[in-house]
Symmetry: C2
Subunit: 315 residues, 2 copies
């Protein structure tokens, strides 16, 4: 458990001190009660950064793309924050591995802050913690914040939807599940990237995507552009940065921008409410003992989960 | 909203009537209160089926593999239930697409029950609903129940972990994100499949996987086998069915089997508790009006999510 963050630490965050930022993110991950006080101090200082959510299939080369995009922003003398969210890695093997590789290219630049966040057990809260971490980076003056998720699960979709601009990364010739993925992420993507665009099949993937896009209907009238990149050769990154900025400008003052921010606010409130309600029950006297007993009973089929929960709700 | 299920419907479920089963799954998806009564009647009749959780990267050919495995079980005259969970598809585009394709091969066989389940909005509960759907199929006498998830998010991992046997599907040459995925799913996989094993790079993928497995440590001493398949050509399916049965037998009476069932029970209780707590607050008088106001305030940065939740917790 991290200690609560004092006023002095909030000053360090606002001054952009990386160690203060790292410590605040640990609080946000580990200690819901301390997070509440901290985040109430942090929020008034947020809203200046461009938050870019990047998701896509495993194997699409997201990590390379994120690294090169960060490099491009560094050339523009922007400070860059990267939050890599990996809900599939319960024991953080994946996250740690990704970190190590990444540190070799970006880790020594003091203008880049990188943090991996993985699942923290049954009580959940990863999605909430990752958007809180973005708020900390925003308050600390990071101008471009990239949230990268591995996988295409529900939490990941919500996390990238909470960004200002959502980018979905595809690769040519992904096979039979691609249609289903595309249909699922169609609604959330503001910019599409076809990475590894030097491979065979890029034209076909582009045509398929265009066909799907022509069927989709966006309330705001935005036409998501399709950017072709070869991240490992630094190709197409400028176009991607321009596309991101275009959508950011498009939605900034618009009614749709307001609707999007309200939708994000709803999601954040519900996520936090869910977490706080559970935390309150779980911290109750005798909860753990009774919970363990009931889990054994359910496992042995002497009772069922619904009856167990009915009983826990009464205490 | 579905109507509560009467005793008559429970008789229909236990008799294995597909329409009764379909209706019960709709209740489990739509109506938490009715689900509670229904599931308390259903649970005592569960525990006979073999529940097989199948996950893996998009593009790994999971759907084909599931269809062929179901076909093999049909030849053994087993009744087969398939639950396809797609949390990435908020508007069910993906799920519907998958259904249509699948119906062509298996849909006309009365010994196969197929159901897709997708995200049902902000209140969550998909993971809980999908394991409840499995229990309904189990009580209805389906002997082999396959739970297939798209993607590798947190919910998907939990859903496939709740199965008796967890199968992770890989394909040769998936590129740079594969190591991270493998590390993340290492702990949950009882059987590995390398599908599309007629492709280049199968040996390399197998060697990489063996290397990772040699580093991993399982408490139960089980060595997860690696099965090579070409699902579209029906190759390797017999071996897969044998591997699934071997693990099922291995853990059935063991201490590790008990530990696993307790761990699943814990997860189910917590998921359901989380959902019930939120449902209770959300159904409270005046909740919706105040929630909408607070969401607008948060979106406009006049307040923050933590302060909003503090207020909602008081009501």
């Amino acid at each position: 458990m991290s200690a609560p963050v004092s006023d002095a630490n909030i000053e360090r965050i606002l001054a952009g001190d990386p160690r203060g930022v790292a410590r605040a993110i640990s609080v946000v991950e580990d200690n819901l009660q301390a997070a509440s006080a901290l985040m109430q101090s942090v929020f008034p200082h947020t809203g200046r950064a461009t938050v870019i959510g990047i998701t896509g299939s495993p194997g699409a080369g997201k990590s390379s793309l994120v690294d090169r995009l960060a490099g491009l922003y560094r050339k523009q003398e922007k400070r860059v924050g990267i939050i890599a969210v990996d809900p599939s890695s319960p024991f953080s093997g994946g996250a740690i591995l990704g970190d190590r590789i990444r540190m070799q290219t970006l880790g020594l630049d003091p203008g880049v802050f990188i943090r991996s966040m993985a699942t923290r057990g049954q009580l959940g809260g990863l999605a909430r913690a990752s958007v809180d971490a973005v708020a900390v980076l925003d308050a600390a003056g990071y101008e471009k914040i990239i949230v990268e998720t591995v996988g295409v699960g529900q939490d990941e979709v919500e996390i990238v939807k909470a960004a200002d601009v959502t980018v979905v990364v595809l690769v040519p010739g992904m096979g039979d599940d691609v249609q289903a993925i595309k249909a699922g992420i169609m609604e959330i993507s503001d910019v599409f990237v076809i990475n590894k665009a030097d491979r065979d099949g890029v034209l076909r993937t582009e045509k398929e995507l265009e066909a799907l896009l022509s069927l989709a209907h966006r309330d705001d009238g935005w036409q998501p552009p399709i950017i072709k990149t070869v991240a490992t050769e630094n190709k197409g990154l400028d176009e991607l940065a321009v596309a991101i900025e275009s959508y950011r400008d498009f939605q900034k003052g618009s009614d749709q921008g307001v609707a999007r921010r309200e939708s994000i606010a709803r999601w954040r409130i519900i996520e936090l409410l869910r977490e706080q309600l559970l935390a309150r029950v779980v911290s109750g006297e005798n909860f753990t003992a009774r919970f363990n007993e009931l889990a054994s009973e359910v496992a042995a089929k002497r009772t069922d989960p619904y009856a167990a929960v009915d009983e826990l709700m009464k205490t």
